[in-house]
């Protein structure tokens, strides 16, 4: 039994357009023995968009989330690359300057909150990082009851969890940009190498330059298909929106038939832990996951 207990920030999208992510995370955490204390009062990370408007506002909003997490005495976990990136960016500014931090904390005082720099035990990590660094791949492997053997999985990280290099913590964890491959292998899957694994899904400009956005999504999906992928897996629900929900639109832009399942990271873990696709909300996806299910059931020749 794991003794991991974490303050949990599910983000907005996992409770909005990708409810299957939130649902599968809850089930997977329970089966892994990770106790999650949901930060239900916490607010949106701003996704870099609020910072575009006013960096102080973005910093204060995230300082509030950190402070809520710190008040539990636990480390914090998110399940979204974009949350990870936007929050780390704010945290860097908050940690860089004590006068600035004091100014930001003024705005939190009324709620009885304070963000403290370097508070022992406090960290903000994506589920992917928690899985590899804190839970451990050995322990994960031990929990696997139904290896996703034969499943050819293309990793798709999402920009914010691997860039910019100076903010990702590579000094202490130099292999953070290889974790998805590690997890796929641990779960029994086969890693598919393709061009798009560390590229941008295009989501941030979907409302501003639809063509650029969908061409990115469509190109990466096409590359993964060409490399023989059965599905993609991503730790970012925003990537999921562009790769899965917009996939039919990406087909139109790229003029190519696609049809590649895109799994949330907890879903892939959940499959290996023995959950059924339906338990994990895979039926809610736009790009059909039938192929994945058939592959796992041994119905498709490898």
């Amino acid at each position: 039994m794991s003794d991991l207990k974490l303050a949990y920030w599910p983000g907005c999208v996992s409770r909005g357009f990708t409810p299957e992510l939130h649902g599968s995370m809850a089930q997977v955490a329970e089966r892994l023995g990770i106790e999650l204390v949901t930060l239900d009062r916490a607010n949106c990370c701003g996704a870099g968009v609020i910072a575009e408007h006013n960096t102080e506002l973005a910093d204060t909003l995230n300082a509030r989330t950190f402070a809520l997490a710190q008040s539990t005495g636990l480390a914090m976990m998110n399940i979204c690359s974009t949350c990870q990136g936007a929050q780390s960016e704010c945290q860097q500014r908050l940690d860089a300057d004590s006068a600035y931090r004091a100014h930001i904390n003024e705005a939190l005082a009324e709620e009885g909150l304070e963000y403290a720099k370097d508070k022992p035990g406090f960290e903000n990590k994506n589920f992917l990082w928690v899985l590899v660094e804190d839970y451990g791949l050995d322990q994960l492997k031990a929990k696997v009851t139904r290896p996703v053997a034969g499943l050819r999985v293309g990793p798709f990280y999402g920009c914010y969890i691997i860039r910019p290099r100076h903010r990702i913590g590579y000094e202490d964890h130099p292999e953070r940009d290889l974790y998805l491959e590690r997890v796929i292998e641990t779960l029994g899957g086969e890693v598919v190498e393709y061009d798009g694994a560390r590229k941008c899904c295009g989501f941030p400009v979907i409302t501003m330059n639809r063509e650029t956005s969908l061409r990115q999504a469509g190109t990466h999906i096409g590359d993964a298909l060409d490399a023989g992928a059965d599905c993609l897996v991503t730790p970012c629900p925003l990537c999921h929106l562009n790769l899965d929900m917009q996939q039919p639109e990406a087909e139109k832009i790229t003029g190519r038939e696609l049809g590649l399942a895109v799994l949330h990271l907890p879903q892939l873990v959940g499959l290996a832990l023995g959950f059924e696709p339906a338990d994990l909300g895979m039926g809610k996806h736009i790009a059909s996951t039938e192929w994945v299910e058939a592959r796992l059931a041994g119905g498709v020749p490898v």
Binding site: L61, S98, K284, I286
Partner: protein, 385 residues
């Protein structure tokens, strides 16, 4: 000296052949650079291997290239580091992969055509100062921080690494791109320039301008001089939308202000409301939606309907803008107070100017001489040599 293998993407246009890979062994101290390795090949083995290079010290910007898939400078990448990087996944025998920069045509070997890609875009942003009227008799008096701030963009050496790494350019060759937009910030952020608004309007309205950046940080990682082009693009957006109130046809500003307002009202993101507000603030508010906005809204409908069909959006309610719940209890009020506080100050902490505290503890001796104080009076012209 250790041996390293360089696997170089070569192209010799006069041979009539296409591009091909060639491996070279070099023996080099580990702290020398990939460029040093290429120069060793050129000097000892094959003088026809071409690579632009000059200073070898990351200041002239000639040797932009891709090393193990990353856009960078050849002179700035230590060969031992590159070797380690090439072998992170597959053990110790993989060669260091060297390619010409991406997003530009290749002329020969590692030499690319930067004129048609990079420099054309630089000229696109009117890359010179446009002050108002005649210059003052002495210097322009400006805040010292403003000069440090734009010196970050001025530090750009036009090497093209960011252009090569840009994921928007990869799908939209017309994107003005990270280098040119960072250059644009250098003028927008310069208090001596009188045309900031005109520049911003131009770059906001262009479909390949500031709102065509996908915020992927590739350029930030690629830049060898810490220019952080994407950060400058985000600041252009902030200044265009919020300081100059430029309502662009690309819905960039609307998207940003809709997002910001929704969080103020709801605390977390209501995606349906975001779609509606980004594309067509006029539906509920007083603005009249632009034709582009209506087109965008209509364009997003099939996606929404598909989501409804699979049950992705759990209920019809999810699709109705505004149904999304607020934060529990008094949490939403506290979020709103944060808005009041932050919108009043709008402090922009610029780490390029201020540095990071924990990296900057002052040395123990408080009595370090200031530059001026370090000057001694001129000694008399006597005494020994």
């Amino acid at each position: 000296m250790p041996d390293y293998t360089l696997k170089v993407r070569r192209y010799q246009p006069e041979s009539g052949e296409g591009a091909y890979w060639q491996e070279f062994k070099v023996d080099l101290d580990p702290d020398l650079s990939v460029l040093d390795g290429l120069l060793q090949v050129r000097d000892r083995e094959d003088g026809s291997l071409v690579v632009r290079c000059s200073c070898r010290a990351a200041i002239c910007g000639s040797c932009g290239m891709k090393i193990n898939g990353r856009s960078t400078l050849g002179c700035k990448t230590q060969i031992a580091e590159a070797h380690e990087q090439a072998n992170r996944r597959n053990g110790g025998t993989e060669p260091i992969v060297v390619e010409p920069m991406a997003n530009m045509p290749v002329i020969k070997d590692l030499v690319t055509d930067m004129e048609s890609t990079h420099w054309t875009k630089i000229r696109r942003v009117t890359p010179w100062l446009l002050p108002e009227g005649d210059p003052p008799e002495r210097e322009y008096v400006v805040p010292p921080e403003s000069m440090i701030d734009i010196t970050q963009s001025m530090a750009c050496i036009q090497c093209g690494a960011c252009v090569s790494s840009c994921l928007s350019l990869e799908v939209d060759p017309e994107f003005i791109g990270p280098a040119a937009l960072a250059k644009a910030y250098r003028f927008v952020g310069d208090p001596r320039d009188a045309e900031a608004r005109g520049r911003l309007y131009d770059l906001a309205q262009d479909p390949h301008g500031i709102y065509d950046c996908t915020h992927c940080f590739s350029c930030v990682d690629a830049c060898p001089k810490d220019v952080a082009p994407m950060d400058q693009i985000m600041r252009l957006r902030r200044i265009a939308g919020d300081d100059h109130d430029i309502d662009d046809v690309n819905n960039g500003r609307r998207h940003e202000s809709a997002f910001t307002k929704i969080i103020e009202k709801k605390g977390t993101l209501d995606e349906s409301l975001l779609l509606q507000e980004s594309y067509a603030q006029g539906v509920k508010g007083k603005l009249i939606p632009t034709p582009g906005a209506i087109k965008g809204l209509v364009g997003s409908l099939p996606t929404a309907v598909r989501g409804l069909r699979t049950g992705k959006m759990r209920s019809l309610a999810k699709l109705i803008p505004g149904v999304h719940e607020k934060l529990p209890g008094d949490a939403q009020e506290h979020v709103q107070r944060i808005y009041t506080h932050a919108e009043e100050h709008r402090e922009e902490l610029n780490l390029y100017i201020s540095g990071e505290e924990e990296l900057e503890p002052e040395p123990d001796e408080a009595e370090t001489p200031t530059p001026e104080a370090a000057i001694e009076p001129e000694p008399d012209e006597e005494g020994g040599r």
